[in-house]
């Protein structure tokens, strides 16, 4: 009898155990989803049961309630995230390229300074940031939030890009410079387009962080400026304690954009978020 070696053979037992384990693990997700589509009465009487009747009422209520202001907040959060991600990718790629191609004592000191930035928790910076931004007269504006997020993620971005650029042969820049391209042209036309995998990792890691963050928007935007979706959710949690349906729907609406992006770009998501092991 010959056994063919098949590393991907799975016994029925393995299917059963694996499905049971992940079902148990995902139980809280199941609760969050089903309760989004149930009436408040049913959530209280039967929190674990399937929706009966199925209702879109909570989601419609959350999306149309002018007080909670959710559609504009989603749009605002998308724009803030997009701006931060674009700047982090662009500035990180430029600086990363510069550092990778100019090895000197000065760039090594610069890299060390940036590595220190990787270790700094956001909370350590928040109190002084409010003072700096007040001094600059931009406290409470989107500029404050965007500048602090971009600056916070520059080190991570530089690290990923400089590593990636080092794997691109120098001859590529040199042949471009023989053809008359200066360093800027060879960066934008030749190198930057090649760094797509690094850009994807950085973009995904930073989008998830910026979208999900609630502390920086709460403090830097303050109460007067329109806030981001998670900061809005954090604020509402206290107010609707008895209205479970609305809260579940709010969470659902706030999380769905990232979930859709994740399902569409799974592979890049996983490599992007695990590359974050270098971001302290």
């Amino acid at each position: 009898m010959t056994h063919r070696y098949d590393p991907d053979h799975a016994s029925p037992m393995r299917y059963i155990v694996a499905i049971a384990a992940i079902a148990a693990y995902a139980l809280p997700l199941y609760l969050a989803i089903i309760n989004t589509f149930k009436t408040n009465e049913q959530i209280i009487a039967d929190p674990g049961g399937a929706p009966a009747p199925f209702t879109m009422g909570n989601v419609i209520n959350v999306l149309t309630n002018p007080e909670s202001d959710i559609p504009p907040t989603l749009l605002r959060t998308s724009l803030i995230t997009l701006t931060v991600v674009t700047l982090v990718v662009l500035l990180g790629a430029m600086l990363g390229y510069y550092v990778a191609r100019h090895d000197s004592a000065a760039t090594r000191v610069l890299m060390l300074t940036l590595l220190l930035g990787l270790a700094v928790p956001a909370q350590v910076l928040l109190i002084p940031l409010t003072q700096t931004f007040r001094g600059l007269g931009i406290m409470g504006t989107y500029a404050a939030l965007i500048i602090s997020d971009v600056g916070f993620f520059v080190p991570f971005s530089v690290l990923i890009f400089s590593r990636f650029v080092r794997s691109i042969p120098k001859e590529l820049d040199e042949s471009a410079s023989i053809d008359g391209a200066g360093p800027l042209r060879s960066f934008f036309l030749i190198i930057f387009p090649l760094t797509r995998p690094a850009a994807a990792s950085v973009a995904i890691f930073v989008s998830v962080w910026v979208w999900n963050d609630f502390v920086n928007p709460l403090i830097l935007l303050g109460p007067a400026t329109g806030t981001t979706i998670m900061a809005g959710l954090y604020r509402t949690l206290g107010q609707y304690t008895s209205d479970f349906g609305t809260t579940f729907a709010y969470m659902f609406v706030a999380s769905v954009p990232l979930l859709i992006l994740f399902l569409a770009l799974q592979r890049s998501f996983i490599s992007g978020l695990t590359s974050g092991s270098t971001k302290g």
């Binding site: 350590v124 600056g151 994740f262």
Partner: protein, 296 residues
């Protein structure tokens, strides 16, 4: 020649100005200047409202280091970090070994396992709060199963609240590390495993001789993230318990925000921030040294 050199130099400075300066400038505004200010404020009796305060030397550091609340928060965070390390590595490795089959069902299960990693801490903590509140799903279920004596106020008594916050913080980490370990497992060349199987090595022997040594990079990635994430953790406590009851689930990161913004004790908060940062830098340097030694 000199003309050539000066043109080169100008070019070099221009290149730096365009490619390097924008990133450095924003990094300086968002990290370096605030960090320098944090050190300065930590030496002052600083008032956030007036942006002023008298110099008090190391008094704030002394106050932090003699504050029992700081030590209890640090103790709680340490226990949480140790739990994260164990749960993420053991739970993640076991789930990864279970899911390590390139079949559609298993890929789907991996996707589900990763979902908590992309949810906001606010969302995670609120989902769990509906399970753990006094009349929540957990106590309901315990009642239905006839285990009413196990019912407790999961967020209202210090010990149960600590257990809840620790357990919930570990929840997304387990799915995350499962995916990291799976990537590690699937990068092991199948010829190696096949050769072991041809040589008659059983699963335990294969795991110890081949799989585990080749999973060291995954172990390192997961452990680094859990230690640093654990030391800075605040969001689950912030949403679920607010650090209570009676400070039982307080973490240093949460205390910094509260002392700084709610109690206007910015000097004290910044001293605490610098101490927390020193702990993280120390851990990072140790971790970096270990990984550099490994690579040799």
């Amino acid at each position: 020649m000199s003309k050539f050199l000066s043109r080169q130099r100008l070019n070099g400075a221009q290149t730096f100005a365009v490619l390097g300066l924008p990133g450095i400038a924003l990094y300086a505004v968002a990290v370096i200047i605030p960090l320098t200010l944090a050190i300065r404020y930590s030496l002052l009796d600083f008032n956030l409202l007036t942006s002023k305060g008298p110099f008090v030397g190391l008094d704030n550091y002394r106050d932090v280091l003699t504050d029992p609340d700081f030590w209890s928060a640090l103790g709680f965070t340490s226990v949480l970090t140790v739990y994260l390390l164990l749960a993420a590595n053991i739970g993640g490795l076991l789930l990864a070994l279970l899911l390590n089959r390139r079949r559609r069902v298993f890929n789907g299960l991996r996707t589900i396992a990763f979902v908590p990693s992309i949810l906001s801490g606010v969302v995670l903590a609120y989902i769990w709060s509906t399970i753990l509140t006094d009349k929540g799903v957990l106590n309901n279920t315990l009642g239905l199963l006839g285990l009413a004596e196990l019912q407790t106020s999961w967020l209202g008594t210090p010990l149960a609240a600590q257990a809840s916050v620790i357990f919930i913080s570990g929840w997304p980490s387990i799915g995350f590390s499962t995916v990291v370990y799976l990537a590690g497992l699937q990068s092991i060349p199948s010829e190696l495993l096949e050769a072991a199987s041809v040589d008659g090595a059983g699963p335990v022997r294969t795991f110890r001789a081949i799989t585990w040594p080749l999973l060291q990079p995954s172990l390192f990635v997961v452990s680094t993230m859990m230690i640093i994430g654990g030391v800075k953790s605040y969001d689950v406590s912030a949403v679920l318990t607010g650090g209570g009851p009676a400070g039982a689930t307080d973490t240093p990161a949460l205390q910094i925000l509260r002392h700084g913004f709610e109690e206007n004790r910015a000097g004290f908060a910044n001293a605490q921030a610098i101490i927390l940062l020193s702990i993280i830098v120390l851990i990072s340097v140790v971790g970096y040294t270990i990984s550099a030694k490994r690579e040799k």
